[in-house]
Each structure stands twice: as structure tokens, then as C-alpha cells.
Amino acid sequence: MQALLQQVVSGIAIGGIFASLALALVLIYNAMGLVNFAQGEMAMLATFVAYALINRGMSYWIVFPVTLVLAFGGGIVIQRVVIRPVERAPILTLVIITLGLATLLNGLAGFMFGYVPRSFPSAFSAQTIDLLGVFISYRDLGVMGVSGLVLLAVYLLLQRTTVGLTLRAAAHHPEASRLLGVQVSWMLALGWGLASAVGAVSGIMVAPILFLEPNMMQSIIIYAFAAAVLGGIESPLGAVVGGLIVGVTVNLAGAYIPFVGGDLQLAVGLAIIIVVLIIRPNGLFGRAATRRV
């Protein structure tokens, strides 16, 4: 029983990691109806920036907000330079561009920082709490707590502010928004900036657990996709719930289904994506989408 609980708890812990990256994916989707394949790599690069700053002797608590601002700016720059010229192109073009971006950023990070895994400081202690023989570290709790805060912030932003409303309007009804005087293109840039900042939070939170190297996010991006799809790709709450469910499912399947074992866990992520897409494409919290003609 205790072993089962430990599996659930460590599943929740890793699920928090998936959720934090899934939130950034959801934000981009809300801003422009796109899944950003480069989200993980952007987060990784932002984390390397934070790492470089910390190595120069800056304090963690200064580096954290500075990195968020830099990531926000970086996201806007990427949108202006790479996405804007093809803003109205078909989704195919956009997906290919984000994939190109992912490849490019991964290669650049490898070239600039090398591939040796590095330890990254954490705001939370690595100590663990003993809950009746089941252990969870402050670090894992921290990831979840911060994911919760980001979720709250994203929710408030999208649902309770004019900016959020405009952002969503620009994504869903670009023509109408344009007529109403909304700078649609800058709204998209804002969306990219925000998603990039949320991604940076994710990167900084998970780097102490996954260890920082250029391929750090590749191991979790598939699970983050699964989380976003399961939760309903528009829903921030769905991303977090989806992340936790994916984390626990993958862990339990690995531990208790002999066929899966430790080595087919990734395939469980794929299976979740495919099953959800076929049976319930809008996920748990998504609304039914109308097909655009």
C-alpha cells in the first residue's frame, strides 16, 4: 500500500513538472490557435540564461524576475521576427516553423553551453516531508505550488482582464478585432511573450530536478503535450489537472503493468494523446470547437 502511495505521490510530483510546461502550451494556443513545438526549447534556453546570470554571481531572487523579463522580451522578438511574416499562413506552415525553431534553439544551446548536465539551484530545499512513510520533497511541492500560482495568474489574465479578453478575441476573431481597433499582430506577440515567460518559470522550476542540459525539456515535452491534450488544449486548469493525471498514470502503468515496465512509459504518453484525440478531442475541460470553413 505504501509502495502504491509512493508511486502516486511521485507521479503527482512529476505531473507538476508536465503541468508547468503544458500551461505555456495552453497560453500560446489561446493566443493564436497553435501548438508551439519550440516551447520546451525556449524554456530550456531561458533557463540557461538564468544559469549564466547566476554563475556571474547574481542572486537567485534577482535572476528569477530578470529571466522572466528577458524571456518575455525574447518571446516577443521571436514572434516579431519569425512568426509575424507568416501570421496568416496555414497552420501547417506555422507548425513547421515552430519545429524549425525547436531544432535551431536546441542546436544553439548545445553549441553555446555544451551537453554536460549541470545542477541548477532551487528556491526550495531538497529535504523531503514524511507523510506516513510516503515522501515528497519541498522541491516537488514547490513546482506544484508555483504551477498553481501560474495557473491562477494565467486564469485571471485571460478571464478577468481587458488584455486577456482582447488576446482571446484577437485569436478567435482576428478580422472583427481588427475592425474594432485591436492591434491583432501585437496581441499575438504579447501571447508569445507571456507563454515564453511561463515557459521560463517551468524551466527554472524543473531544472534542479531534471538537471540542465540542452535536451532537458525533450524528455517531458511529449508528456506536456499529453497533459495539454487531456485537459483540453484551451484550458489552463485542464493543463494542470491533465499534467497530474498523466504523471500518475505513467508512473502507475510503469510500476504495475509488467508489459509497460520502466521502458515503455513514453509510449503511455503517446497512448494518452491518441486515445484522447480520438475519443474526446476537446479533452476534459475543453469546449467543443466549431470547425472553421
Partner: protein, 411 residues
């Protein structure tokens, strides 16, 4: 006019391209390809990019050693040219790159190619061409064990199975009642180690109470470690690559778990990884491993002549970090390569070089631990089969006991 012009242009383009390609006909074979009166051409494939790019520095360190040797006059007056190709750890790239090095660049031998799958993918080809595939940078046991069918292929570092046998000896001696648990990567690397451990334990193999695998793509081995703990494991073996090893060390502490011994493999034990684990909160209690090379971060070698020589050599490589154990590995294996070439003397044929490497090697490598012999005989083609147990002291590795010799146990 237009249509004819297009046709003419097309035909002309065809002829020009044909002519341009005709410039490089296949050259006639010669006995000592890649050797001239003043040069030796060696080639390698390594992962300079891609998922395993952390190993890429090995090739640069090897090049640094060749530069060092060349600056001192080369090998019997011949300077070594070392051509490094990036296969990104993908066998689909290794095959054409190796063919290119052999057929186009005309290398004398392939040296220290990286990766089990990558080197397996070109083993048949190199053997059929009778091109030495020397000192591959993988410990897969097959490269020494299957010498009889692949007489142009050799490993260098201790085979994974041999190393695992050394752990087996140590565990039986020091923890006779151990309940062993194994975390292994589900590939040739992890499986080879696991086999060596099982074989080495022999009649004690029932000491292994559980083994859990993880895939190289996994985000974290937390789930597997929780299972191992719940099975009552008190002696843990981590047959994993560096990153999951560091993660595991931190997770074990997080689980409030203090096994009597945690055995790491020699690939994952460089000090920089231990320190990363420590930063991540790992207690690093009872951590044990084995070593066959000197640790560049160990202060006990500060005045050692071999280590000082290493520091001089590695300065030839601007991108190499001197404290990275992979660089010392590269320099050490390049030392053996040069040693073989020196012994070949004036008889610089592929056959002779291969014969020396596979059957007549007997070298004291200045970068290996004192007492380690790099040795081959006509019946043993595993050059390094001695390792020494090391334990983590909190700041560095401490050598324990004496060298454990497993020479001759792998046939």
C-alpha cells in the same frame, strides 16, 4: 528559339556535370593506405552534436594528444592527422561517414569511434575491408569477445561485463548478505552490465531481489527507485548514464533511503557529476564505484608526472575542460594508439598494427591508475581488465584496497 535554347542548356548542363564528376575516379589500392613518409591519417566518428554530445569532447582530447605528439616530432618522423566526423550518435550517419573516411579520405585506421550501435553498424564493413577499427569508445563486451569473427576490431576500456564482475566480487566480499537491487538503462549498456553482475555473482545470483529498467528518454527514474526501495533492497546498483545517475542519487536521499552500498558504474562517476548530485541534495552516503584512470580532480595526483603531462596536453584543446574525466579518457586511449604506432616502427602496415594492438600490447599507461596494465595476448583481447574500488568521501573519491583483476574471466 526559346525551346531549343532550353534543350541546349539542359544537355550542356548534363555534360558539364558529368565532366565535373569524372574528376575523381576510384584510386588504385595500395598496401599502406593512409601512410606517407611523413604522415599517418586516422579517422573517427563521435557525437559532436545530438543527445550524446557530452562524449564529443573525447575526440577533441584525442586530437590534443596527437598535436602534442606531433609537436615532439611525431611517430618515427610521421605526423598524425586525425579526421573527426560527427555522427550525432546515429548509426545511419556512422555508416556513410565511415565509408567516406575509408574510401575517400583513405584513412589508415579508424580510431576510438563512439557508441555501441554506431560501431556495430560499421564493424562488418571495416572487417571486410580489413581496416583496423581500433579501441572503440564503448565498453560493450562484444568488441573484445567476438574478436575471432571480427579480427580487425578492438575495444580498449574495461568491458561492461568485466567491470560488473568486479562489483560482484566486491559485493560478495564486503556485503555477503546483501539484498541487491539494480536500476539499468534498457539498452546494450545497461543489459551488458546486468549480465556481467549476474554472471559474476554466479551461485550468489539469487542475491538480486529486484531489477528495474528505464528508457533513455525517461524524465526521471523516481518511480523505479521507489519500487526498488519497497522491495527491501539494501544494496543498489545504478547501471545508468550520467544524468539519470545524478538524478537517482538525489531521489534516493529524497526517499529517506540509505542503502548499505550504492554502486555506480565508471562512466557516471566523474567528480563533476558527484558534485552536481550533491548540489541537488544527494547525501552520497555509501557510494562506491570503480576506476581504472586517474581522476583529474583528485588532489593526490597533483604532483603526479602523468597528471602534469595530461594538463600540458589538454591545453592544446581550447574547448576541453581539463577536469572532465572524458578528456583524460581521450588522452589515455590516444596514448595507447600512439604506443602501437611507435611499436609498428618501419613495418607500418594495417596488419602489423592490428597484430600489435590485439596480441602483443603490454603498456603502462601514465594516465591509468598505478598498476593497471594495458595488455593483450593471443588469447585475450580485452586490453584493460583491472579496476580499483573507490568510495566517495564527501569531497572526492578515495581508492580502496588494491586493484581487482578480472583478466581471463571473459572468453
Amino acid at each position: 528559339m526559346g525551346r531549343n535554347a532550353a534543350r541546349l542548356a539542359a544537355v550542356a548542363a548534363f555534360l558539364v556535370t558529368l565532366g565535373a564528376c569524372g574528376g575523381s575516379p576510384a584510386p588504385a589500392p595500395q598496401t599502406d593506405i593512409g601512410i606517407t613518409s611523413n604522415s599517418i591519417l586516422l579517422g573517427t566518428t563521435n557525437a559532436l552534436s545530438g543527445p550524446a554530445a557530452a562524449y564529443g569532447t573525447i575526440a577533441h582530447a584525442e586530437d590534443a594528444y596527437f598535436t602534442y605528439v606531433n609537436n615532439q616530432g611525431g611517430v618515427n618522423g610521421r605526423k598524425i592527422t586525425f579526421k573527426i566526423q560527427d555522427d550525432a550518435y546515429n548509426p545511419a550517419n556512422t555508416v556513410p561517414l565511415t565509408k567516406g573516411l575509408v574510401e575517400q579520405d583513405q584513412v589508415f585506421a579508424m580510431f576510438s569511434g563512439l557508441g555501441t550501435q554506431d560501431q556495430t553498424s560499421v564493424r562488418d564493413y571495416l572487417n571486410s575491408k580489413k581496416v583496423p577499427q581500433l579501441f572503440v569508445a564503448t565498453g560493450a563486451t562484444t568488441f573484445g569477445k567476438d574478436f575471432s569473427t571480427n579480427q580487425w576490431t578492438m575495444g580498449w576500456q574495461p568491458p561492461y561485463q568485466g567491470e560488473a564482475r568486479i562489483y560482484a566480487k566486491d559485493v560478495v566480499q564486503n556485503h555477503p548478505n546483501a539484498k541487491i537491487g539494480v536500476l539499468y538503462q534498457n539498452d546494450d549498456y545497461g543489459q551488458d552490465y546486468l549480465k556481467g553482475l549476474t554472471d559474476g555473482l554466479g551461485s550468489n545470483a539469487s542475491m538480486i531481489v529486484d531489477k528495474e529498467s528505464y528508457d533513455v528518454t525517461a524524465a526521471s527514474p523516481a518511480s523505479q527507485l521507489a519500487i526498488l526501495k519497497s522491495k527491501g533492497v539494501d544494496t543498489l546498483f545504478l547501471f545508468s548514464t550520467p544524468k539519470p545517475t545524478i538524478q537517482s542519487l538525489a531521489i534516493i536521499t529524497g526517499l529517506h533511503w540509505t542503502p548499505n552500498a550504492i554502486y555506480l558504474n565508471s562512466v557516471s562517476n566523474p567528480q563533476v557529476y558527484m558534485l552536481a548530485a550533491k548540489t541537488a541534495g544527494a547525501a552520497l552516503a555509501n557510494v562506491t564505484s570503480v576506476a581504472y584512470l586517474k581522476d583529474p580532480t583528485d588532489p593526490q595526483w597533483a604532483n603526479d608526472s602523468g597528471m602534469q603531462q595530461y594538463k600540458t596536453i589538454i591545453a592544446n584543446c581550447t574547448t576541453c575542460k581539463p577536469n572532465d574525466g572524458f578528456n583524460l579518457y581521450g588522452v589515455a586511449v590516444a596514448y595507447t594508439m600512439v604506443d602501437v604506432l611507435k611499436q609498428a616502427g618501419s613495418n607500418m602496415t594495417r596488419k602489423n598494427v592490428m597484430d600489435i594492438a590485439a596480441n602483443r600490447l603490454n603498456e603502462t599507461n601514465p594516465f591509468a591508475l598505478p598498476g593497471v596494465k594495458v595488455k593483450t595476448t593471443s588469447s585475450d583481447h580485452f586490453p584493460i581488465m583491472q579496476e580499483q574500488v573507490i568510495t566517495w568521501s564527501g569531497t572526492g573519491w578515495t581508492l580502496q584496497g588494491s586493484l581487482i583483476d578480472e583478466r581471463g574471466t571473459l572468453k
